[in-house]
Symmetry: D3
Subunit: 239 residues, 6 copies
């Protein structure tokens, strides 16, 4: 039995609030149940040094957790003097996922930086961040299109992500924290709007997982991501 009698294949209630803060070109608060992540997209008319003069843009992400977004307070990374391995791994994943949704050449020599800051954590912060950041990037790009600064729309489609896993021998969709910490296998799946995959990261925390279990998890992920696409589309249509 899952918390709140949630069915195995169901996601938590997902909510995407646009224009959440006033300064960013795209600002989205994404909620997957009690997990809340603020995704702010910033536009800059320049590219990192390694891309200078190549006629293409760049999309990158940074991730952080407020120290008390978690049940036990975590040390502030700015005070510790460095970002941990988990943080770097997650922000690299978010960046790669977002780059897959954009034609970087059509974007031109611009950089979009998406800051994903976890306000409240209850499992699945990285997949919520990707799903919310997708909408923030679209809002930022829409300001360029609206201004006439971009002639061609560089957006190839939506991107969304979900965590799935095996808990007590059962495959479930969109793990919340109590499930995540008990899971034998944990898998994050990032998908493009056409149903193809951008990232699959499956990890056996305890027992290894079989080929059969992998297929089951992918199927659950596919279903969950379809629900997220629907929420993203609804949010974007709500202007």
């Amino acid at each position: 039995m899952r918390p709140n009698d949630r069915p195995l294949q169901a996601t938590r209630p997902i909510k995407i609030s646009r224009h959440y803060t006033k300064h960013a070109e795209g600002s989205v608060l994404v909620e997957f149940g009690d997990t809340k992540v603020l995704c702010n997209a910033t536009l800059e008319n320049s590219v990192p040094r390694f891309l200078k003069g190549q006629g293409q843009g760049w999309i990158t992400a940074e991730y952080g957790m407020l120290p008390r977004s978690t049940n036990v307070r975590m040390q502030r990374e700015a005070a510790r003097g460095k970002q941990g391995g988990r943080t770097l791994e997650i922000q690299r994943l978010i960046g790669r996922s977002l780059r897959a949704m954009i034609d970087l050449t059509a974007l031109g020599e611009r950089t979009i930086t998406v800051d994903c800051d976890v306000i409240q954590a209850d499992g699945g912060t990285r997949t919520a961040a990707i799903s919310g950041a997708c909408v923030a990037v679209i809002d930022a790009i829409n300001t360029l299109l609206a201004n006439g600064d971009l002639k061609t729309n560089p957006i190839k489609g939506l991107v969304a992500a979900i965590s799935v896993g095996i808990v007590d021998g059962t495959a479930v969709c969109d793990l919340e924290y109590v499930e995540d910490s008990a899971a034998e296998t944990d898998m994050n799946v990032v998908m493009a709007e056409d149903g193809r995959m951008i990232e699959v990261q499956g990890t056996a925390e305890g027992e290894p997982f079989s080929h059969q279990e992998l297929l089951q998890l992918l199927e659950l992920a596919q279903g969950g991501i379809e629900q997220i696409f629907a929420v993203q589309r609804a949010a974007l249509n709500d202007d």
Copy 2:
């Protein structure tokens, strides 16, 4: 003329929302107009090394700005690898202000850490943080009193803070960003509930200020802080 025709001695609309996130022992979102700061108080049953065995508690604060809480994105301090001088200065100020409201011996060997994270900045983030953190600390201490973990209430009274300044030769209360960046003199005042002062920090950004101007600013601060105390009391009564 101030933005929105605000009278010289008026604060912006001030709002204090308690229980804003679910994990922290005290969690307050404080808003001074468009400035929004999340203040999460964490209780720990231990004290820093320099206080071990002295039979008293400690209150400390950390401060951060989300990178895009500002109009131009600021570099993430965790990525830069250190907290800047402004950040350290502000979090030291918040900590000193909060310690002034508590009898640390009555608190016992406990530490309260208040994380003040700026979600959206529009001037006065440090004074908003102090005013919000005060309520978060009280909520955290009330859990100790409710549990019977504390016999004596260590709270000596409220603490609140406001920024005042001289803009275009005129003294004004609760500066928002456009005023702050144009101010000749900027002063932050932290006050105890009995009207006495905990901190006064006046800085001439351009021209020095006279004794007369200092007195004017203190009077404006006193008026503004009374308004904050009222909002704090209303929020605390609303259970």
Copy 3:
């Protein structure tokens, strides 16, 4: 056509040399073609703080590349003052993979640290590192068993890893550098000796990948890993 006319499903020549340096309890040079990684396992009779007194052991890994292991010299991480995100991500992956092959309770309060240092890089350094480190860990544990310091063998089985990917629309096994840098999809698979998976990390560098392609890649990985298991077993039998 692959370099050296290598068939699509073939790995490069794989070589595992044990007792490569004299100080470490387990010391393995692993070669996948021109990729050469030195894996030194160190035994310590203590555990990290977070595991103290829990009656179990720990296995962790560190990873580094010699600055000129690559075609263009990379900055030395010790000189830069921090390990990059890629390094942290890889060493976390190696550690997780190795922990999956050991019963940590049977290991007792001991730590095995495996240093994986890339002497020469030509693609697939992380999967080579896992495959070599597995043998170094076994050598280190065998010294404990030989001394009588351990009564029960904590080894659950071998672990090995391979990279597979889609290059020019074709799925290939064990990518070397020129293939890796041209791959549309890159997948690292870590497997236990019973054929179940420990990690699957698939990333679309260009186009997303389909469910069908994922299955193809997993099949190639399975075949490649069987070859590595054979090399590991031969090396371990050669005393």
Copy 4:
């Protein structure tokens, strides 16, 4: 009764020695009793990046304490790998104070960096540093005027600073260490030569302070700073 029967409103003996070291364009040893701070001003014909091309100069300060300038040895900040919050706060204060005495446009695209290093500490190091640095800056600017590199004198007037505080309920001027560590309220005041204020920083270390006490402290500060101006003028006349 104060140490050495010092009257409440009296400063310690103040001494300013110019040309203290031979390399710096301005080099001053300032002594407030046993507090000794070496202030070296360095001239450079460039400005920090954020001021490039704006036709104005910059004045900045750095502050440090020799590890054994204090009664108990402090860790060397260079060895610790970072400057503490107190250090950053003080050097920001010194820099702001010095900028208030100079017309930065008249200075032209030049930077003056003042290094304030505490040789021996006995309370009031930051206010001594400001008072000494003022003279070092004037010496540095005078070399520019003497060379004909500057046509207009950018100096608007002297700046000086003093600490005042409430010890055992009594307001006193220029606190030495034993007073400072026992003070209920501690206030640093920085003044321009015309008697207007550049900075006022009052902090209640124990009890909050009243409006009346604030006025008393400001009066003491005014008196003390007049004495410093006299010493500065005498030192500058002594060529």
Copy 5:
């Protein structure tokens, strides 16, 4: 009696293997008995900022020990976040020694960086590194001469280094680890091919050493270095 009945004036077996890895312009594995150091020379067509536009080149070195190159595992410097004092001292010594063998003006605006990484340590790693790096630098320069990128050979001659010391009152040549850790005096000597000295660094670890002992050590060093020159020449002739 020395380990393995080695005569007092004898070096350990010395071996220099060129072209050890495939990417570097010069790649040498140098072995002094069980001490093994990989020296990779990298050529770049630019110079550090402080030499820009001066028409001369630069040679620099970096040094590192693999964490388990030693009997007890050392912390990885990249993980610790900084290079230790011993590392910096050694890499400065290697750089100075190599610059002494090259006419930097004849080299032109190029930099050669030699990475010396200790694979296995058994005493004398810095002197082995210098002796091996000399050959790696020559190989790198020979590629420039062969390509016609350099018209004049900038090589002034070989450079080699050895450690000598006083162990149990007796002067010995080329100390291995057990001798080194018991030595009363330890001296590293770097010599040019003409027999003149580039560096002499003698340190009394226990008792100070006399003028007579210094002369004895220098004589032993001279003899040992002649043997290294012979190995270097043989290696370079073996193409």
Copy 6:
């Protein structure tokens, strides 16, 4: 011709001022001509972790240059966030030299830390630091002997150091900055009171140096160090 017609074998005027600051257990300002170094010795009743429980003491040193002790301002190491290689090398040398003058077992489980801070630099700061620190250590130990905290005097004798070098083909003693920066060979010699050597560090900056030149330099060093011993003895007798 040397500056000020100084004879080749002469040191600059050497001055040792004891009790220079009031807090340290030993506080010496040492001057070699225009080179001025403040050496403060701190006593602590504990030892570093690696010596705990071994019944012996420790002596260590830290070295720093005030940013404008030099002709061109150097970046403050505390602001840069790390000590440079030269600094670490020098403080290691000072520490080794001082440990050679003390019977660490007789010192008991105590640490003496000597902070050597360069107030003004004109060549030879490290050798001046050693020569001054020797006296500061003796003053610190004498307070222990005077208190009866130490029964046996752990001091084995004085230690002093000088730089010698070859400038324009001529060997000279105690190089000042203009000589140092033009020297072909630079040698620092640290000697015990009995005339034996503790450290010899000779470096060819340009041309290598011959055996004959080495002998000449050692003779000059011996003569210079005798002069320093005389100044040290005079300072210590002056109570």
